[in-house]
């Protein structure tokens, strides 16, 4: 069998912006029908690599390559005009969120038609027919109607399909997909990923870019791992997943919570330093202990909440939610966007009054109590959020934030509680010198640690965690999850843990609540729910969630 002409061959690719070298010595080849996954965390240079391949690295970039061949043609010295002939026709690009990747002011049909028109394929009537055909082929119902709609009028999944239609309009030999499913809910993401897999089977080569090693494992033939602008590992999928050579690849695999048992470490670094003196060491009640007679830390009965979206039809965000959070344990709430999990958390925090039902904190009424009466009891209940930065007063330094929390609002002078602040920082694994910094200058992981430190300052017994790791890179996510595990074991905390990510929930929770459209569809002990789901929606979620990363992934991860 003759070796096919690769759809893409690049060797020794270097991209820099001024003095910043962003991509260094990257080489790979993609054959027809082959899918290469390029995996890396934010700032690794994977998106710039993708964009350099179609001559769109951006203004101020210098791109050099030993070879850059698109379907056998040297693309290194192409004029802008020749590039335009290649883009769209031979290479299609699919970006992350179609809400911003399709012009919000133009109809979906017009955007797709542009691809056809630019490469002058047919009369306008022929093109219009082809647009409908394309929309149908990516699985959109009622394509005639969809073509006349704006991107903002479609759901996330439909939009992404329309974007894919515009990229494959001319049957390009190479499809570059840059985080094509990252903005989507798990079930939708799975179906879009399936669509992409189908395209590859029809003969297109595909470069799939993702921050999530496990997410691409199902589709990719080979995997290239990128770190700091370089490929640190590159090989067939099973080899990379099963026998990773580079420590970074191993760390990435270990960081994935999927398939890791409760309290198994995800990150190679210790989550926090030694237990600072002066903190009570509370041991966690043994897992699986019967709950009889134990008073729940937090208990909800029949919670319901609706929001007035329009006068005629209020939006029922949450209906009939019951749960029980036992001391020292974690209750996970999992659901896709719009499932009502955040609304539930806000009611549990006493930030939102439920329309019906009640919340109890350690056996005493928590909802329906005036805020003035609740205030003194708030010490028992802390919260951390997805975006810690927005929950900090922008005028305060890290130390001042902690001083405010430690002193119950009496002072924001960090010098008044130096010892306690240092202790808190140490507890969450931050250097005490962080106290003098502005939170805006901290990294995402550091900021979340600071938020945790602040939440712990009043020595709460319950922590409500609303998507605490969703905005973080996998390796940072692993560190924060490890930290939360540590703190729970050390301080005997109870967590109400909210996430859209099934594997995070499974790794973190003792009990779980599966929510959809404001309702609890299934609840119970985590392992029971995950191994023997009763509700069809839970089953669909589990099927959509990336399966465990493959052989060896659940092995001795993290060993370095």
């Amino acid at each position: 069998m003759n070796a096919p002409v690769p759809v893409l061959r690049v060797s020794d690719l270097n991209v820099s912006f001024g003095a910043d070298s962003v991509v260094r010595g990257v080489s790979f080849t993609i054959n027809p029908g082959e899918c290469l996954a390029l995996v890396g965390e934010s700032g690794s240079g994977k998106s710039v690599t993708a964009r350099s391949l179609i001559g769109l690295a951006g203004r101020g970039s210098q791109v050099q390559a030993g070879a850059l061949e698109l379907a056998g043609r040297d693309a290194r010295r192409l004029s802008q005009r020749s590039w335009r002939g290649i883009r769209g026709k031979q290479v299609g690009l699919i970006l992350q969120d179609a809400l911003t990747s399709l012009d919000p002011l133009r109809t979906v049909g017009k955007e797709i038609d542009d691809s056809l028109r630019l490469h002058s394929s047919g009369s306008s009537a022929q093109r219009a027919a082809r647009v409908i055909e394309l929309l149908e082929s990516v699985g959109l119902d009622d394509p005639v109607h969809r073509a006349a709609q704006l991107p903002g009028e479609l759901s996330g999944g439909m939009r992404q399909r329309a974007l894919i239609a515009s990229a494959i309009a001319l049957d390009p030999a190479l499809i570059i997909a840059d985080e094509p499913t990252t903005a989507l809910d798990a079930t939708i993401a799975a179906s879009v990923m399936e669509l992409l897999g189908g395209l590859r089977r029809s003969g297109s080569g595909m470069l799939l870019i993702s921050h999530d090693l496990a997410a691409v494992a199902r589709v990719a033939d080979s995997i290239a791992v990128m770190q700091h602008g370089q490929l640190v590992e590159h090989g067939p999928r099973d080899q990379v997943l099963g026998d990773p050579q580079h420590s970074y690849t191993r760390a990435l695999l270990a960081a994935d919570p999927a398939g890791k048992p409760r309290f198994a470490r995800l990150s190679p670094v210790p989550a926090s330093a030694e237990v600072p003196p002066g903190l009570p060491a509370v041991s966690r009640p043994p897992a699986g202990a019967p709950a009889a007679g134990v008073q729940p830390a937090l208990r909800a009965r029949g919670l319901a909440k609706s929001f007035p979206v329009s006068r005629s039809a209020p939006f029922q965000a949450v209906r009939q939610v019951d749960f029980k959070l036992l001391p020292g344990r974690t209750l996970g709430i999992v659901g896709e966007s719009g499932s009502g999990k955040t609304t539930t958390a806000r009611m549990a925090l006493g930030l939102l009054a439920p329309d019906a039902g009640s919340v109890e904190l350690f056996g005493e009424p928590w909802s329906g109590v005036p805020e003035s009466a609740r205030r003194s009891r708030r010490r028992a209940l802390g919260a951390i959020y997805q975006d810690p930065a927005s929950s900090f007063d922008p005028r305060l330094s890290a130390g001042s934030l902690l001083a405010d929390a430690v002193s119950f609002g009496a002072t924001r002078n960090p010098r008044s509680h130096t010892a306690k602040i240092a202790q808190l920082l140490q507890l969450v694994g931050l250097d005490p010198e962080v106290a003098g910094r502005n939170p805006a200058t901290l990294s995402g992981g550091q900021r979340q640690r600071l938020a945790i430190a602040r939440a712990l300052a009043p020595e709460p017994r319950v922590l409500v965690c609303d998507e605490p790791v969703s905005a973080l890179d996998v390796s940072i996510q692993a560190q924060v999850l490890d930290l939360l595990d540590d703190l729970q074991q050390r301080l005997g905390l109870s967590y109400l843990f909210i996430s859209h990510d099934l594997s995070v929930i499974r790794h973190m929770s003792d009990d779980v609540l599966v929510m959809r459209a404001g309702e609890v569809v299934e609840s119970g002990a985590t392992e029971t729910v995950f191994t023997d789901p009763q509700h069809h929606y839970t089953r669909a979620l589990l099927a959509a969630a990336r399966v465990s990363a493959g052989p060896g992934a659940s092995g001795p991860g993290g060993s370095r």
């Binding site: 003095a19 964009r51 900090f392 009043p458």
Partner: protein, 297 residues
């Protein structure tokens, strides 16, 4: 950030701040220095005129009111480097001595405008739905008579003069500022920061005093700087129209108004006072822009 080529999407969450990227931004030291030039220059211009207002004699030894008919209408040259006016008074000295009244009128008008805006803006921001919509209606009416129109209607009622000018210019600028302050307060009231403070058990009044008000008022510095330039422009416009300070005083707008009659004969009488106003207003604009930029970082 490692990959901010201008053609890259700004909304890409993968381009979100990353620890390794902050360091790299420091690369272009020269460019960083160059980015400071605009606000340094703007600051220097404002400082010069503040100095002129404080001690005009230091910068301009000549008497701004000294009449010298023999030297009337001298073009810019060695003796009078910005020329003289119809009575032979030195234009440069008049500009320097005019700094004090002009800046004072501008500052007073800005203060009036901001004070009014603060009252309206905080009322709308904190006062609940009904008060908010009430203030919104008042603002809508004020917006319907923008710029000079409102000032002129006010002067028609109250009569011309320096005091009227100050209030009129303040009145003109107030609705815009009020809207900004209101927006700021409402955004803060609904921010996760307030939610976090509530969870920590802080009372409403504590949150208001410690977290909302200080953050809402921070942009006032930006507004005041920008407003000073604009207020000087408006006040000068009114003087130019003959509704401001009385003629012999060396106030910038009044000088312009006097020079208008001799536009074809002595262009420098109009040009230089006007240029001064432009310089001050531009400097204030540049400075407020960089203040704003620093505030958002």
């Amino acid at each position: 950030m490692t990959m901010t080529g201008p053609a890259l999407p700004a909304g890409d969450p993968l381009l979100a701040p990353h620890p390794g990227n902050v360091r790299r931004r420091r690369a272009g030291g020269v460019r960083r220095l160059a980015s400071h030039i605009p606000w340094l220059a703007a600051g220097a211009v404002l400082l010069f005129f503040v100095l002129a207002a404080a001690a005009p004699g230091l910068l301009a030894p000549l008497d701004p009111l000294a009449i010298n008919p023999a030297a009337a209408f001298s073009p810019p040259g060695p003796g009078h480097f910005l020329g003289t006016d119809e009575s032979g008074r030195d234009i440069y000295s008049r500009i320097i001595h005019g700094a004090r009244p002009s800046l004072l009128i501008g500052a007073a008008a800005t203060a009036v405008g901001l004070a009014l805006a603060l009252v309206l803006g905080t009322m709308a921001g904190f006062g609940g739905k009904r008060l908010d919509s009430g203030v919104g209606r008042i603002l809508e009416v004020l917006f319907a008579l923008p710029g000079l129109l409102l000032a002129l209607v006010f002067i028609a009622l109250a009569g011309p003069g320096v005091g009227t000018t100050v209030i009129a210019v303040g009145l003109t600028s107030a609705p815009g500022y009020a809207r900004i302050i209101r927006g700021q307060i409402i955004a803060l009231r609904n921010s996760p920061m307030v939610e976090a403070a509530t969870v920590l058990g802080r009372s409403r009044s504590h949150i208001l005093a410690i977290h909302i008000l200080p953050n809402a008022l921070a942009p006032i510095a930006v507004l005041a700087t920008l407003g000073l330039g604009q207020a000087i422009l408006w006040a000068a416009s009114l003087s130019f129209l003959g509704l401001g300070a009385p003629p012999p005083a060396p106030e910038w707008g009044t000088m312009l108004s006097a020079g208008r009659t001799y536009l074809s004969l002595a262009w420098w009488m109009t040009f230089f006072p006007g240029l001064t106003i432009v310089l001050v207003a531009a400097a204030a604009t540049v400075l407020s822009r960089s203040l704003k930029f620093r505030g958002t970082r």
